[in-house]
């Protein structure tokens, strides 16, 4: 029999206002096992905790029940208190008589009655508690960063600077991500490449960082501190360590008419290519779908002109296995497809473009060498219409757009409009907006400058339709403030397309058992207090994979994720949660139900020898729980048809005892 101590907290008037705490302490005194019962104004205060410690020693308590607030609030506090007095911390039970009792009841009588019942249930449970000891697991001191955009780059640099080795896996031939495609950055108008490329070089030169470009993660096993990851290095048909990036092959390749994805298809590249001048690694890649040598075995020009002898048409995909202690997801975003927005004629006219395409058009390294020219006829546009919120804040058309605000469009549109007016003052620039959202340092000032100093015409209202007619785009739009319908003959229409998580995020989340929201953004462990951690231990989030973000925000989140990773990798051992599932192998019939429902992949099966009553040996398939991976959610315990699965600290027997105590 346990020797139980009961401690009833007033929480000032929070509990004592609607619960007669003295009566509760008195009523619980006569429960089975209870040898001590007290009440106090603030149990969590130092004096309250001292009272618990003294009682544990004086009355030789083997278990305690604290009737107070939610266990999410102070369970850890009281467990520490118990441990300080020499009691196993898992011999502490909390009866929540605040959030689930005093705060929801107005009447003292009912409140008190319910508090007594909740106390009885906790006592019934603690009588069946057993001391638990958390397990320990080692930590592999290496981090994996998935995605090599600015988020991944910053996270990798910060982790590596703390002395831990980092691998970056990037599916494109170069790191740099979306930021490498941008022209200028708001609100300071720094050139994106000028601030990004030095960081890319830092990554390449860092002795703690390895870059797996043109690669993807194909399998993730293991758990926090001990991830086992398979990385597929796609064949680029060029020996990475031999290629000098001289570009002779790119120049001589006869297959020159492949749409250039770096310039969003607005110009062409050869079948062998280096995405842009400052690519890291600066190594050529052969596009196997375009290369004549790989498709038909005819050509071989690149191999002939390569002085370094780096071309290898026989290269195969390579699989690399590596262990990691932590994984950072930095898979980023893409603009959504404009195919379904027929009203804006994106697919009908080359002169209706997305903002990212506009970014390439104004970039000195872009298809028009930085001159703003219409894609259709190469003429200078005189009237430009920018349309905001294309597909953002779009609730009715889930198959078309996204319900959320994409956050970055207001600012980059202001930037585009301002830069256009600055470089080409003879251009008329309209921006159609629903709301202009500029919360950020120097953001609103920037937007106002576009209006007041650069004369950008901001119109409150949306564009209803764009109709190509001759070499003009007929734009029909609302001006809600003037209560007018506007008809503008535009030369260029720029759509601020909503952004969405990269398509690789969803399969990756499945591999990592990391949760996502309905928009495929990774979910954080707590929206306010743990914004860079996934609920899955050891998985961290960096950048736009968690939600739309601009560069400054991405960089700060990347640093935050890095600091969390460093905190994890700095530990030699990890202490687990002892409240994990365990299987009674004598009852387990090996049906796999538990393994199928386990969201963390913590359950495996093994064939085990059992000694039978007739002294023979029989091999049976039984479930085994990896306590380091198990999060104690209990899904397996309710699934198990034979009742073999149980949760330590929350055993079926304990739960039933609680129910019995409530119903008594």
């Amino acid at each position: 029999m346990q020797r139980v101590g009961v401690f009833v907290c007033w929480c000032g008037t929070n509990i004592a206002g609607t619960v007669d705490v003295v009566a509760v302490a008195e009523a619980l005194k006569s429960e089975p096992g209870v040898v001590f019962s007290a009440n106090y104004q603030y149990m969590c205060s130092q004096a309250g905790q001292d009272m618990i410690k003294e009682a544990i020693k004086e009355h030789k308590l083997t278990g305690i029940v604290v009737c107070s607030c939610s266990p999410r609030m102070h369970e850890a506090t009281f467990r520490k208190t118990a441990a300080a007095a020499g009691l196993n911390p898992y011999m502490v039970e909390i009866a929540n008589i605040r959030e689930q009792c005093s705060w929801v009841h107005k009447d003292m009588l009912t409140g008190t009655e319910k508090a007594i019942i909740l106390g009885k249930a906790a006592i019934a449970k603690v009588n069946l508690n057993a001391p638990l000891t958390p397990g320990e697991s080692p930590v592999t001191k290496r981090a994996l960063v998935i995605g090599g955009g600015i988020a991944g780059i910053q996270t990798a640099l910060d982790i590596a600077d703390a002395g831990f080795p980092v691998d970056i896996v990037e599916k494109k031939p170069t790191i740099g991500g979306k930021m490498a495609q941008l022209d200028k950055t708001f609100p300071t108008l720094d050139c994106a490449a000028c601030i990004l490329t030095p960081k890319m070089v830092d990554v390449a030169q860092h002795d703690k960082i390895r870059i797996f470009s043109y690669s993807e993660v194909t399998e993730v096993n293991g758990f926090v501190g001990n991830f086992d990851v398979t990385i597929k290095k796609n064949a680029r048909y060029v020996k990475e360590d031999v290629c000098t990036g001289c570009g002779a092959c790119v120049e001589k390749c006869p297959m020159k008419r492949i749409p250039n994805e770096f310039n969003l298809g607005m110009d062409n590249r050869p079948a062998i290519y280096i995405p842009f001048a400052q690519a890291v690694p600066k190594v050529a890649t052969i596009d196997p779908n375009a290369c004549n040598m790989l498709k038909n075995g005819k050509c071989g020009v690149c191999s002939k002109v390569c002085a370094a002898g780096a071309i290898d048409y026989t290269q195969k995909d390579e699989y690399i296995n590596e262990k990691y202690g932590a994984i950072v997801v930095a898979t980023g975003f893409n603009p959504i497809s404009m195919d379904k927005f027929d009203e804006y004629a994106y697919n009908q006219s080359k002169d209706v473009i997305t903002s990212l395409e506009f970014e390439r058009l104004t970039n000195a390294a872009g298809p028009s060498a930085g001159k703003l020219l219409r894609p259709s006829d190469g003429k200078h546009p005189h009237t430009i219409v920018f349309v905001q919120c294309v597909g953002s804040r779009c609730e009715s058309c889930a198959e078309k757009g996204k319900e959320y605000c994409s956050k970055i469009c207001c600012m980059y549109t202001a930037k585009h409009a301002m830069l256009t007016r600055d470089k080409y003052p003879d251009t008329e620039v309209y921006v159609f907006y629903i709301d202009v959202r500029t919360p950020g340092k120097n953001f609103d000032e920037f937007y106002r400058r576009a209006v007041e100093e650069y004369g950008v015409k901001y119109v409150k209202g949306m564009v209803g339709k764009v109709v190509p007619e001759g070499d003009k785009l007929k734009v029909q739009a609302s001006d809600l403030i003037a209560n007018k319908q506007l008809h503008i003959d535009a030369d260029l229409v720029v759509l601020a397309a909503a952004i969405e998580p990269d398509k690789s995020a969803r399969p990756l989340a499945t591999m990592l058992t990391a949760s996502m929201d309905t928009n495929d953004f990774f979910t954080e462990a707590h929206p306010k207090l743990r914004p860079v951690e996934s609920p899955t231990a050891g998985v961290f989030l960096s950048g736009a994979c968690q939600g739309p973000k601009d560069i400054p925000e991405t960089v700060s989140q990347a640093g935050a994720a890095a600091s969390k990773v460093i905190g994890l990798l700095a530990k030699d051992k990890l202490t687990g949660n002892p409240c994990v599932a365990n299987s009674n192998e004598l009852m387990c019939n090996g049906c796999s139900s538990c393994a199928n429902v386990c969201p963390y992949g913590a359950i495996t099966y093994e064939d085990k020898e059992f000694r039978m009553p007739d002294r023979t040996t029989k091999v049976r398939r039984v479930a085994v729980v990896n306590p380091a991976v198990c999060q104690g959610c209990g899904a397996c315990t309710v699934t198990c048809p034979s009742g073999a699965m149980d949760l330590k600290g929350f055993a079926n027997l304990q739960i039933m005892a609680e129910v019995d105590a409530i119903c008594k």
Partner: protein, 129 residues
């Protein structure tokens, strides 16, 4: 501003539209081909119904200018369906005694050989109770 709660609720009920979903983007009015004919534009219908300012709409010629082309319904990003609001206000207007917009007697004078039958059918649907 006159707030007619009864009519407001009636129009919301008939149309099945929740006007508070409107985020004031104006895409309905931007897309409307009959805009110039209308005194009150599609976004105003939604906003005025939301604020209960129904009387001016009931007495406005705008009710009969809406082509029911449903472009606003197709393009509204919030699924508000402005054309259904216009229709509900129109029904509220013509359901009053003697408020039919068109009588059968007046039809022969309007018809010529080029008038499709479909036009007459939909006109009766739209202008009479």
């Amino acid at each position: 501003m006159h707030n007619n709660k009864y009519l407001q609720e009636e129009i919301i009920r008939i149309s099945g539209v929740n006007p508070s979903k409107c985020m004031r983007c104006g895409k309905c009015s931007a897309t409307c081909p009959a805009y110039d004919e209308m005194e009150y534009h599609p976004h105003q219908f939604v906003n005025m119904v939301e604020s209960g300012d129904i009387e001016p709409l009931l007495n406005s010629e705008s009710l009969y200018k809406c082509l029911s082309c449903f472009a606003c319904i197709d393009r509204c990003p919030r699924g508000v369906q402005p054309a259904k609001v216009v229709e509900a206000v129109r029904l509220t207007a013509i359901r009053k005694k003697g408020a039919n917009r068109m009588t059968a007697d007046a039809v022969p004078a309007m018809v010529d050989e080029d008038t499709p039958q479909q036009l007459l059918v939909s006109a009766f649907r739209k202008y009479t109770k």
